[in-house]
Point group: C2
Chain length 490, copies 2
């Protein structure tokens, strides 16, 4: 078992790093910036992936797979895109190793230099639109609704497990449409899918909105986003969906014959979420004892720990625990019976607390006699003795309640940590308190940048919901069309 975690109050960042490692979610690898996702962490990601994949398919999307490598010249084809992505990339220059003539392992074969360097994909718009050119001829080929689950690489100097790593796992949707309206509708629809997933599976309600021009994806005409609020008052961008206009269609010359026989460029979207969601999930719900998982994404919803002394008691109690486990499993609940005899029950309690298992059932000789068990909730740390009769139904109700309680508490967090301010002093005070700050801004990139430089706060989004009354900018006093949401962010 792990040692005690640093408390969130003492050092939130340290708490996070320790939690990720001690709860067996991920660890740094020897390769700078690349993480190893450990089995327990990966099981959570798999659940996220399965749910999201189902949601994408329910909205008409299909999966495909495009190459890991992008020819260097492709990145330059879309002017804004190259500015954003042709920077910190992993560059493949050679395709062969050979034995070191000095006998020291292997060296790069200088004769095997690529004519054109290949970039490990930081995102796949360019390679995909280069392919779409051949897939799209007529309006009959549209819409094209494709998603890809893949690894991508963006060389990062300062990395944090899940939140910012050189290699990460994600999905990237890339769709093609006959009209602008349809593409905008798609980009917005996928943002709703993300928000639905965040609220109803991650128990993490989010703010939906549009990015300012400076915060847009490189190559997008509009970037829609969901912004989550962490326990330390910092925002985290949890997913983005981009309306790409005709930028990539023009860069890669993708046109289609419309119903009237004319020829037009195709309209595009792209949208993605990544293993960063794991970081968001962890920071949203967990506490000083470890991870807290919403039941819907927990690989184990219920753990059963038998309590006994001696072999005879053990046999009897483990047999009863197995019965209970089977009953819960039959009811569709993900259950684990931990009957490992080499570990004490106290160790197990702490371990499953650390790993965020939503419910713990403990059963000892007295319970056996009375036909009860002890049921402990990870989120509220409350315990109850409950009857084994109708246990599955009771467990299901408790799991639903945990999911709802976690969701409600994040709703409340956003509500109490969204500060509406009208002055620069008020703005600075609100930032100190943490959370979202709803304030007027004059709409210029210059003011946005000045505020960022002075306070580290950025405009997270122009929210869908909220006050749209005009006012005056907190920084410059110039006219403002409406309030926007500021925050310090991950």
């Amino acid at each position: 078992m792990a040692s005690k975690l640093t408390s969130r109050d003492d050092d939130y960042s340290k708490w996070y790093n320790e939690l990720v490692v001690q709860a067996d979610l991920a660890q740094h690898s020897d390769v700078k910036g690349c993480m190893v996702i450990k089995p327990y962490g990966f099981a959570i990601w798999e659940r996220m992936k399965d749910v999201l994949d189902g949601m994408f398919k329910d909205t008409g999307h299909v999966n495909a797979y495009f190459p890991l490598f992008i020819p260097k010249s492709y990145l330059s084809k879309e002017a804004a895109h190259v500015e954003g992505f042709a920077k910190e990339c992993a560059v493949v220059t050679h395709y062969r190793l050979k034995n070191d003539p000095n006998g020291e392992g292997v060296v790069v074969d200088p004769d095997a230099r690529l004519e054109e360097e290949l970039i490990v994909r930081p995102t796949s718009e360019t390679i995909i639109w280069n392919t779409y050119k051949n897939w799209i001829q007529s309006y009959r080929d549209l819409p094209l609704l494709v998603n890809q689950w893949a690894n991508v690489v963006r060389w990062e100097m300062r990395t944090r497990l899940f939140l910012r790593t050189a290699e990460f796992l994600w999905q990237e949707g890339h769709t093609a449409h006959a009209t602008k309206d349809e593409a905008v509708e798609e980009a917005k629809k996928m943002l709703e899918v993300y928000a639905d997933f965040a609220e109803n599976h991650m128990a993490m309600p989010v703010v939906k909105g549009v990015k300012t021009e400076s915060e847009r994806f490189a190559g997008a005409e509009d970037t829609y986003c969901i912004e989550a609020l962490m326990q330390d008052g910092k925002a985290l961008q949890a997913g983005t969906s981009h309306f790409l206009g005709q930028n990539f269609a023009k860069a890669f010359d993708v046109t289609f014959a419309d119903k009237e026989g004319g020829k037009s460029h195709v309209w595009a979207t792209s949208w993605g979420v990544s293993t960063r969601l794991m970081g968001a999930l962890i920071m949203t719900h967990s506490d000083d004892q470890g991870l807290v998982l919403p039941p819907k994404l927990a690989p184990i919803e219920v753990v059963i720990v038998p309590i006994y002394k001696g072999q005879d008691q053990m046999d009897e109690i483990v047999a009863k625990c197995q019965e209970v486990a089977d009953e819960l499993k039959t009811a569709g609940i993900r259950v684990k019976l931990d009957d490992d005899d080499t570990k004490r029950s106290g160790w197990k309690f702490a371990e499953y607390e650390l790993k965020g298992v939503p419910l713990r059932i403990a059963m000892g000789p007295r319970d056996l006699a009375k036909g009860t068990c002890e049921l402990a909730r990870r989120d509220t740390k409350t315990k109850d003795f409950v009857s084994l009769d109708g246990l599955a139904a009771h467990v299901r109700t408790q799991l639903d309640d945990i999911q709802a309680t976690l969701t409600a508490s994040v709703h409340e967090r956003i509500k109490t940590h969204t500060h509406v301010v009208d002055t620069w002093e008020g703005f600075l005070e609100a930032l100190d308190k943490g959370g979202f700050v709803s304030a007027h801004w004059d709409g210029t990139a210059e003011t946005e940048e000045r505020i960022k430089q002075e306070t580290k706060a950025t405009i997270r989004c122009i929210p869908y919901e909220g006050d749209t009354t005009p006012g005056t900018c907190i920084k410059t006093g110039a006219p403002s069309a409406r309030r926007v949401l500021f925050a310090k962010a991950y």
Copy 2:
């Protein structure tokens, strides 16, 4: 729709290439050796992946994720491994691009050279065993049963879609055990899982066996394999499972404290199958009209095509087809109703034939009146008129029969195309006929190599089943311990 395929008799290789592209399975990308897996092809791979993943989990394995990049020096740590894998690799030497000072796009930033080059993983033993060092301390940490779904890169000069590509998708299991026996048992168990999957899902019975020393995985003490037989008489290695001994544990210094307090090196296995299975699937069952898919892996098991003239007929028939589709869907059958009004039914018939959909239902005005439909089988090309009453049960029976028929025909193919020979002349004649050749071999790598040079035939495996009587080598006349299986192979 696609143009007519080259026939298998005219040019098997050309037939394969055309089929893969025309059935929308995959295509070459602009990046040399890397393929694009198209949505229809990817849907088949997804089904394979889901089934296999379930089988791995049922045998106690968990998934994790390890870095894409491997430090160059890691490859040299296991002596045999470096010989096998430190050759045709994608090498990352730089981590940044910058704007070309001459204004021509972007160039590699010479200041951003990595201290140690990174290799895009050709397989992950080295990075994983370097990680296991910290995961394994005691016998309590064993066995460690981990699998990873990932992309890997082996630079290939001559590529063929699915069969041999620079980047491919696969799974790689990497397990660690306390004893030699347990590791050997694991390697053999996973071979059984592969063979089970091949026979019972791909409808592709295989020969199970052990590789000769020359054909072993680089770093393995034994390589178990499943060998499939394609329609053109060539063998295809469809999956391998390796007993790695203590080679990687020693190379990366992975030891554990055993129950008696001693310290030993860990025993290892690794095992994998890849998108190459797609190539095997295609070449095993398909015909001159296109793909033939076993129902268990078909993304669409049944397609329904309405036949009508004019809007009134269309509305009525499409409504009925929708009813039928709903009924089949409720019965758990993967069904597609193609009511696209812009395409003729003849076009649709050919299209779904090309795409290998196992069953086709066509329904016209007469069927509507009589309460029947036309049911056509893709594998036998037989058609029947069947009642709509109890259709779902009938369809299920037909699908099961198609799966069984395809499996039986491959069993038969292996049986009739395994030639037992005792002379060199007989060997050459048998190779000309195609298929497996069961023959005596003197057990030396020299003879194996000579035979390969002269005939292009390799020893596919020393089969689990078959004649183990000693004899004399077909090439040298030297004593042979038992017969082995030769074939020309993909």
